[in-house]
């Protein structure tokens, strides 16, 4: 059994003995306990089926644990009513594994979506969205529909949407899975930059090379359990 994790003052996320299963299926996460400080940067690694995406789903509130306790921003998620969950979700940015871009909306509309949902007026965020899209390298593609974008562009658009609301936690599920090495490094640098601005970043990835070279802490999952993972390779920050 994973030893209990002591809460700390700057803790943003805490799992205490969390298990999860889909329906009546087998457990995909078993007795996971962890505590992440605000402003930290973590990778979540592990083989396929280890439970990485399920762990992220619990954090972005797309699923509930079958047992154990999840605390986000100091609040016990299990004790919250369903009507209060949207308020928590708005504090989290997610780059989904399959991106989930809306094909009928332009890059600008896709990016502005979280701000519209939060009830902001277009005049308040128009310039910020344009600036952000320029920052991620999509300044010339603001009016483009996602199906017309290249793989790397889509990935950066999904990142722009995830961070436009200045989330306190940024989750990314295999954000470099479908891009070449150079693009993976550019995306990674984006996350580092956001982390420097204060965002807590959690990235689930298969990219062992990226993880090994980043010198960032790793949450290693194996068969739904957190296991210690010794650092691999030189601890040089990619691109730094």
């Amino acid at each position: 059994m994973t030893p209990p994790v002591e809460p700390s003052a700057d803790e943003i996320l805490r799992f205490a003995g969390v298990s999860m299963r889909y329906g009546r299926g087998p457990e995909v996460l078993s007795d996971v306990s962890l505590s992440l400080p605000r402003g930290s940067f973590h990778f979540v690694t592990g083989p396929s089926g280890a439970g990485k995406s399920s762990l992220l789903k619990l954090i972005y509130l797309a699923a509930r644990p079958s047992s154990g306790q999840v605390r986000l921003f100091g609040e016990d998620i299990d004790a919250m009513a369903a009507r209060d969950l949207p308020r928590i979700r708005r504090r989290i940015g997610v780059v989904f594994q399959d991106l989930l871009l809306l094909d009928h909306l332009s890059a600008f509309d896709n990016t502005a979506l979280p701000l519209r949902i939060a009830g902001h007026k277009p005049a308040e965020y128009r310039n910020d969205v344009a600036e952000l899209l320029t920052w991620v390298g999509l300044g010339q593609r603001m009016n483009a529909l996602p199906p017309t974008l290249a793989g790397g562009e889509k990935q950066r658009l999904a990142i722009a949407r995830a961070v436009v609301n200045r989330p306190e936690i940024l989750l990314a599920d295999e954000p470099t899975g479908n891009v070449d090495h150079e693009m993976a490094l550019r995306i990674y640098r984006l996350f580092v930059e956001l982390n420097r601005l204060g965002t807590t970043v959690i990235i689930a990835t298969h990219d062992q090379d990226l993880v090994a070279r980043s010198a960032r802490p790793v949450l290693h999952l194996d068969k739904g359990r957190l296991r210690p993972m010794p650092p691999q390779g030189p601890l040089a920050e990619p691109g730094e």
């Binding site: 369903a82 009507r83 949207p86 809306l102 009928h104 979280p114 949902i117 603001m142």
Partner: protein, 296 residues
């Protein structure tokens, strides 16, 4: 080459795609349902007016059949009966009908008889009754008996009862039909909402995970389907009103037939249809959408 994107001129796009392949089909089905509902409504109005007209005509009248006694001629007996009846309180008019009218009534049974004057054919007296305090059949009978007349009074009460009963049956049947049509429209919209949500699951999922309230997502579908239903309701109502107008023009003052008289003002009854259709659609879409979102 396309113009460069200008953020200052940007207007937020709808979260749901403007074009949805299901909308035209839904529009057509709801329009047909609204057309049928409006037509049923117009039929009810015309039927009720006809029934009320007949009942009112029959309520204000009575017919007296007078047979001559002894040496008195049928015409003299009828004249005496009319005079006696005119004096009864609750009678506004009593008029002995021409013998030809009585002959016309019995002609189907006797055929063309050369000289009906040889037969003791009873005469008819038409009696007009006061709308507010009409004389009863018993009062009229007693007055006739008091004047030594052999007569039978028909105050049409049997017919009035039948007409009112028939009008009631028609009204209830039409109301049931209207309810069934409204229910069918709601079911169609609920089905379409479910299909729409399934087809737009990506939108629902993204909005849900990005922090949209359930009500925000349900509102999208509610507005979308309410708009479609209002449009369909307007089309169905316009088609029904057009058909009603054509029937009114063809039938003249009597409308379709004397049995279903349509007045121009009746056509206004279709006006609430778009609003009602939108309301039914909005409620059906809201309930369906919220149920489905809660299962996410």
């Amino acid at each position: 080459m396309s113009e460069p994107f200008d953020p200052s001129r940007w207007r937020p796009a709808s979260f749901l795609p403007d074009e949805d392949a299901r909308d035209p089909a839904l529009l057509f089905v709801v329009a047909v349902l609204c057309f049928l509902a409006c037509l049923t409504g117009l039929g009810v109005i015309a039927g009720t007016r006809a029934a009320n007209g007949w009942a009112s005509q029959l309520t204000g009248e009575a017919t007296v059949i007078v047979r001559a006694r002894g040496g008195e001629t049928p015409d003299a007996a009828a004249a005496r009966a009319a005079e006696a009846l005119a004096a009864v309180p609750g009678v506004t008019e009593a008029r002995a009908l021409e013998k030809e009218k009585a002959y016309a009534l019995i002609k189907p049974w006797l055929g063309d008889v050369a000289d009906l004057d040889d037969l003791p054919v009873p005469r008819l007296v038409a009696v007009g009754l006061d709308d507010k305090k009409p004389a009863t059949a018993a009062t009229l009978g007693a007055a006739l008996k008091g004047h030594g007349l052999d007569a039978v009074v028909d105050d049409h009460s049997v017919w009035i009862k039948d007409i009112r009963h028939a009008a009631g049956v028609v009204s209830w049947t039409a109301a049931t039909l209207l309810l069934l049509i409204a229910g069918a429209a709601a079911a169609v919209v609920a089905y379409a909402t479910r299909a729409g949500l399934a087809a737009r699951r990506d939108v629902v999922e993204v909005l849900h995970l990005t922090g949209a309230e359930d009500a925000q997502i349900a509102n999208l579908f509610e507005l979308r389907f309410a708009r479609v239903a209002a449009l369909a309701g307007a089309a169905g109502a316009a088609a029904a009103a057009l058909l009603g107008a054509v029937l009114r023009l063809i039938g003249g003052g009597q409308g379709i037939t004397p049995a279903l008289p349509i007045a121009w003002i009746d056509l206004l009854a279709v006006l609430p249809c778009p609003l009602l259709a939108a309301l039914v659609a909005a409620v059906a879409a809201r309930v369906t959408a919220r149920r489905l979102i809660q299962k996410l």
